[in-house]
Symmetry: C2
Subunit: 658 residues, 2 copies
């Protein structure tokens, strides 16, 4: 370890960070200044990476969970030689188009492994990355060749450790004995409101020991300690490690360090000058020559590491052609179509059950599909065949994950598994509890990760469990998240197509909204319905070339719609709209093949009206705009006036003859 060089790297991190933040007149200097030594140690010594070819699958991962300290990461990525972040980006910190965005954004710089900023999620996502590493290692390493063997490092602050999602994920990480997950805790004891004494006085070390972690302690400002502690963390292979580093927020700023002022506002020109004077920083956006020189050498070393791995990988490929083919499939970014289950009109089963048949079929064809439920394996119907195995410390090759009753961590972990590369992730809970994981769902969408969210029990037809378990506003709440695809199939046949669609999708998350109750498979008049479905809607029953009325329904309400249409004398067209947002993105001409211009439309969905007004007048939307109630499903529907009979009455009133 070249301590002198590391010191110069730390100095450069401080210099770049304070200048970038000052120039932007916006940002968070507290962390980059306070944790610069850890950054120098990570990027200057610890991480196994190749900044000039950063997609190296076996690289170590680093997650800045305290994403507001983004200049910490940008400074280091720039110094280490990542190509897609330049000094111009840093000088343009927090300006439009700069890769040095306000918070680290996945996709802007290859060294940014996940988008962070929403606190607590970085560490939870990192748990997913560590899970992925063990899964891939189990699948691909052989007795003689190791091609998957890397660490997942995280930096958390006081904020991340107060958030519930980090607690959920840490408890699970301890349970799963993720020995290659190493978390550094920048313990500066200052948050925006002031000292952590105001609200956060628990014994963090003891809590993490309770989770089954190894906990180590030291100073942020002692490189030898950082090295020793990290070695101890690596030596403990059956527990994740938390390394608590006592630190000083904003360290180096003579008048502001160790105060909340330095957390989230620029130092100010005067304090920047004072800091530079105190630290001996001679110029703006200073990079110490020793740091630059050090990284030039380091880059060559990293290149060699990478080349050595490539050599091993090549030898492994030659020795294990089947594994190599599987590897290629894992990393191809496309899914195998599989043999979807077949259903026929008259079959009666819940779409969750049909979903399970599709999942099982697709999981057989895509052995990189992994996931599970938040303790609702049976109710969500997301079990995999026994052969897929349960993921555990003693069975890293298992593909079913028992996430426990931890919805939010589940979704964040799914993000991490997906971000890691090589694997596809699904996760599941009751639809109403999507609220618990919504912040991670948003990040899936923002990062365009193709997570498959299976949300069953998707309406008041849940019945007895009552309003706490009956989604009302949830379908509407999904459709407004940019980049998220919500599919609500109406019967078993549509469900199989929906699963295939979700798995094909590469550029964002998909929700499968599935019923608890049985639904009959209905006949489809359009022979090409499976293709038309992909426009977001298709005609189930044509009614006539020129219908009097079009009835749009989604999911289980298709059954209700068909029943109601049978009770109505006029020419009624029935449309299944599996994805409203996808349909809304179609050209008008396509939309009009489904909904002929000028024909009155009635919409039917067991949820709030909002959003359907684009297609129907408010009074023509058959919706539920209040919380549900507890009772057998049909009685609840009756009580809420949500029946085929009531829908038929509405339709009759709207028909030309009505």
């Amino acid at each position: 370890m070249n301590i002198n060089a590391l010191e110069k790297i730390a100095l450069s991190v401080r210099a770049l960070s304070m200048d970038a933040i000052q120039k932007a007149t916006s940002g968070h200097p507290g962390l980059p200044l306070g944790a610069a030594e850890l950054g120098a140690f990570l990027y200057g010594d610890l991480l196994r990476q190749d900044p000039q070819d950063p997609s190296w699958p076996d690289r170590d991962r680093f997650v800045l969970s305290a994403g507001h300290g983004s200049m910490f990461l940008y400074s280091l990525l720039y110094l280490a030689g990542y190509q897609d972040i330049t000094l111009e980006d840093i000088k343009g910190f927090r300006q439009l188009g700069s890769h040095a965005a306000g918070h680290p954004e996945y996709g802007l710089v290859q060294g940014i492994e996940t988008t962070t900023g929403p606190l607590g999620q970085g560490i939870a996502t990192a748990v997913g990355m560590a899970v992925a590493e063990t899964m891939l290692a189990a699948r691909f390493n052989t007795k003689t060749r190791t091609i998957v063997d890397h660490y997942t490092y995280v930096l958390v602050g006081d904020g991340c450790l107060q958030e519930g999602v980090s607690a959920e994920a840490s408890s699970l990480a301890g349970h799963l004995k993720l020995g290659k997950l190493i978390v550094f805790y920048d313990s500066n004891r200052i948050t925006i409101d002031g000292s952590t004494d105001l609200a956060f006085t628990e014994a963090v070390a003891q809590r993490y020991e309770a989770y089954g972690w190894q906990v180590l302690k030291g100073s942020m400002y002692d490189f030898e300690a950082l090295a020793r502690l990290t070695a101890e963390a690596k030596a403990e292979t059956t527990k994740p490690s938390l390394i608590i580093l006592n630190s000083v927020i904003g360290k180096g700023a003579p008048h502001k360090e160790n105060t909340p002022d330095v957390h989230g506002a620029p130092l100010g020109a005067e304090e920047v000058a004072a800091t530079k004077a105190a630290l001996g920083i001679p110029e703006d956006f200073y990079v110490a020559p020793e740091a630059a020189a050090y990284f030039t050498v380091k880059q060559a070393e990293w290149k060699e590491l990478h080349a050595a791995w490539q050599e091993e990988f090549n030898a492994w490929s030659q020795e294990n052609p089947d594994k190599r083919s599987e590897w290629n499939r894992f990393y191809a970014g496309t899914a195998a179509p599989g043999v979807l289950p077949r259903f026929a009109p008259g079959d009666s089963l819940a779409t969750r059950s049909a979903g399970n048949k599709a999942l099982v079929a697709l999981a057989a064809a895509n052995t990189n599909l992994v996931g599970g439920s938040a303790d609702l394996k049976g109710p969500n119907a997301v079990g995999l065949p026994d052969a897929a195995g349960v993921y555990s410390p003693t069975n890293r090759g298992g593909r079913y994950i028992h996430f426990g009753i931890r919805e939010f961590a589940m979704a964040a972990i799914a993000n991490g598994i997906s971000l890691h590369g090589g694997l596809r992730a699904f996760c599941a809970t009751f639809m109403v509890f999507s609220d618990y994981l919504r912040p991670a769902l948003r990040l899936s969408a923002l990062m365009k990760q193709p997570i498959i969210y299976v949300f069953t029990h998707d309406s008041i037809f849940v019945g007895e469990d009552g309003p706490t378990h009956q989604p009302i506003e949830h379908l509407a709440s999904f459709r407004i998240i940019p980049g998220l695809l919500t599919l609500r199939p109406a019967d078993a046949e549509e469900t199989a197509e929906a699963w295939a669609w979700a798995l094909e999708r590469q550029d964002g998350p998909t929700i499968l909204a599935l019923s608890r109750q049985n639904l009959k498979v209905f006949p489809k008049e359009d022979p090409d319905w499976k293709n038309t479905l992909r426009t977001g809607a298709y005609v189930v029953r044509k009614g006539a070339e020129s219908p009097d009325l079009v009835l749009i329904a989604t999911g289980s309400e298709l059954t209700l719609a068909l029943e109601a249409a049978d009770q109505v004398p006029g020419k009624v067209r029935v449309v299944s709209m599996i994805s409203r947002e996808r349909f809304e993105a179609q050209p008008k001409a396509v939309q009009e093949t489904i909904l002929p211009a000028g024909v009155r439309v009635i919409c039917c969905e067991a949820g709030v009206k909002t959003g359907w007004e684009r297609w129907a007048k408010p009074e023509d939307i058959f919706s539920i705009d209040r919380f549900g109630e507890s009772g057998p499903a049909n009685q609840v529907a009756q009580s809420l006036g949500f029946t085929a009979h009531a829908l038929a009455a509405l339709m009759k009133a709207k028909l030309p003859s009505g």
Copy 2:
């Protein structure tokens, strides 16, 4: 302690629960059977309550955090003599109209202190109740008279303790040294998926000790131990207590106890019969005569306890007329109007800053208003005057609560404070992080609790922090929750009115959506605008009796709208729609005073289009339907095409002359 009677109570809980669930063919027998002894001890011995007059403000609170075990609670409430739950309700468990709903619903039975079912929230809500108790005790008790002095008891299961929200709330409860919070942990080590060994193997006791709790352990089935442990818990007055009770899920069911089968499905007729035979239960819906007789005596004791308190309260009232007046104000359920801050056209300030002035004014007039932020006191601008004090273990009279970086627990605790009675609660965070607390927001709405949610930084105009911090879908996500009122004031004057409105509201939660950026107070043509505002919208600038175009905007976009209107030659009416859902609830005639029939409407809001289609064609909605980006606010707006200039261009194209 009458152990024989308690045993008979436990027997009756088992009998009633299994029969009710079996009759409903739906429900969760595992907890009521497994924890019946604790129930008997709670309702037969421990709780200080008055079932025949349950609104007694100084009653002990009990929260069944594991809400799926609802028959546990119903059995006990019925046995204890709560009037609004009958044997018919229990026989109608999970049927429409029964007070014995699938999960305990606040409002159906007075002994149900909060709605539970969504796991983890019960204990977090209970923390709020315990906070409220200390606040009221500090304010009202005197050296010689104690009128507020009760305990908050909770029953949690393995599920609640896995959820992040319970972790957040428990950490804060330890920090706050809530000595009168006592949590019983029904540790049966079984969840839906199977053994807790699958996903939950942490050392719970050690974790709670790390939070600063006292942790005690014993058996569920030893009444003397229950009494001794509870006494120890009460003796520790500076720490909350967790009492871990080893238990057997479904205890008493000879073939199903201690298996996941018994968690969430009826026992089945055969096992019910076997259980009855094993336990000596002679008939359906059996209540042991000894249990009934015991509660008859107990009711008289409770009546006496209540009467004694009433006597003390009367004496206290006489000795402390000022305190008694304040007490009356606290419990009146109405807010004092206060002296709202005044602003004038031309004043320029962020609505968050105006909100602070209103909050300070209203907090002065309403000394029962308490709350705080999730570590964003300054950024959210929700600080109270120093005189209001900071709530802490050494200052129970303080009214500002530092919740820490724990949004979800914050909202659940606010629910608990409100449910307790006597206090009004507000809480605050950045709007984008409303996602973190959404499950508790939903419960506020479901329980009709008048929590005030202050969500600042309400649009892409946050700027530099980037897409993780810029709300896009959030306003739309609020408006779809039944019973929630979303107010997005457009300038400082509207903000003061919005705060007053929120505080007046008694029957549900209100969101105040406030800007980070400064906004000029604009002149209002309608002299009666403050009244008209309450319809959800009012005319800011009339344009003409018969305008060519109506431009609807909300919040900070009003400023943009006025600017755009200035650039357009036609007769444009500008409308501020502070609450779309309120406006949509108005009769058509009222709506048409604002939006004349037949006039083209353009809507402008810095968020998704969804929901505005009711009022304008999709192409006439000036919205943002993608994630934001990092940069100075105006540049972000420019990049997204969200400028007055672009809005004016849209308007021009729609004008008759366009």
